[in-house]
Point group: C2
Chain length 121, copies 2
């Protein structure tokens, strides 16, 4: 008796583009990671340092999710074997439009919100 909760690769609730999009990235963290990637961050530590304060387990799980969805690629750093470089795929970059749309709405409708430095790209 399987219950269908959200997450990577689960069954769709409908064919509505809104519902499907929310099924993929409709949580509190995924798009913030995408935001950071768009801003040029590439490392685990850098995402961790963002002011929202994501926990390491959540970050790890969201990065895996985004990777499974084909939005992010993970590759080791040649010069430093400890480091990992996360980056957006072409598909992941398409999320930029979505992220900017959300940022735009927030800026217009939520007082005291401001773009992070470098976010105006």
């Amino acid at each position: 008796m399987r219950r269908r909760y959200r997450g990577t690769g689960r069954q769709r609730r409908s064919n509505c583009p809104i519902a499907c999009t929310l099924d993929l990235v409709g949580d509190r963290w995924s798009l913030l990671i995408v935001r950071d990637l768009l801003l040029g961050k590439t490392r685990f530590d850098e995402f961790l340092a963002s002011e929202e304060g994501i926990a390491t387990n959540i970050l790890s799980s969201r990065l895996k999710g985004l990777e499974n969805l084909g939005f992010v690629v993970r590759k080791g750093d040649d010069r430093d074997g400890r480091r990992v470089q996360y980056s957006l795929t072409r598909s992941g970059k398409s999320l930029g439009k979505l992220v900017r749309g959300i940022a735009d709405w927030g800026l217009r409708n939520l007082p005291q919100t401001t773009l992070a430095p470098g976010g105006g790209k």
Copy 2:
């Protein structure tokens, strides 16, 4: 020892417009209800009938949340005392832009997604 989980009216994680927007409507259901309201639905039963199949308790709680945020108003039907009319406030209507942006991204990037009839408005 209060832990700050998400939800209506809690403290912001940052002043990032993306984070703040996600704090308000970054869950699996709220924007689908907004979608339905934009499509002209007004009643509890109508939201319930949407193909995604929201549960009554979740619907109830999301409607309350959207009301608390000032996006939705609830008023009783004069002709039928059982019925309740939910509708978008001016502020709630501004979410239309956000919803359309998400729908747009979904349509372009997720195969097999199609707009509900009447959704092309």
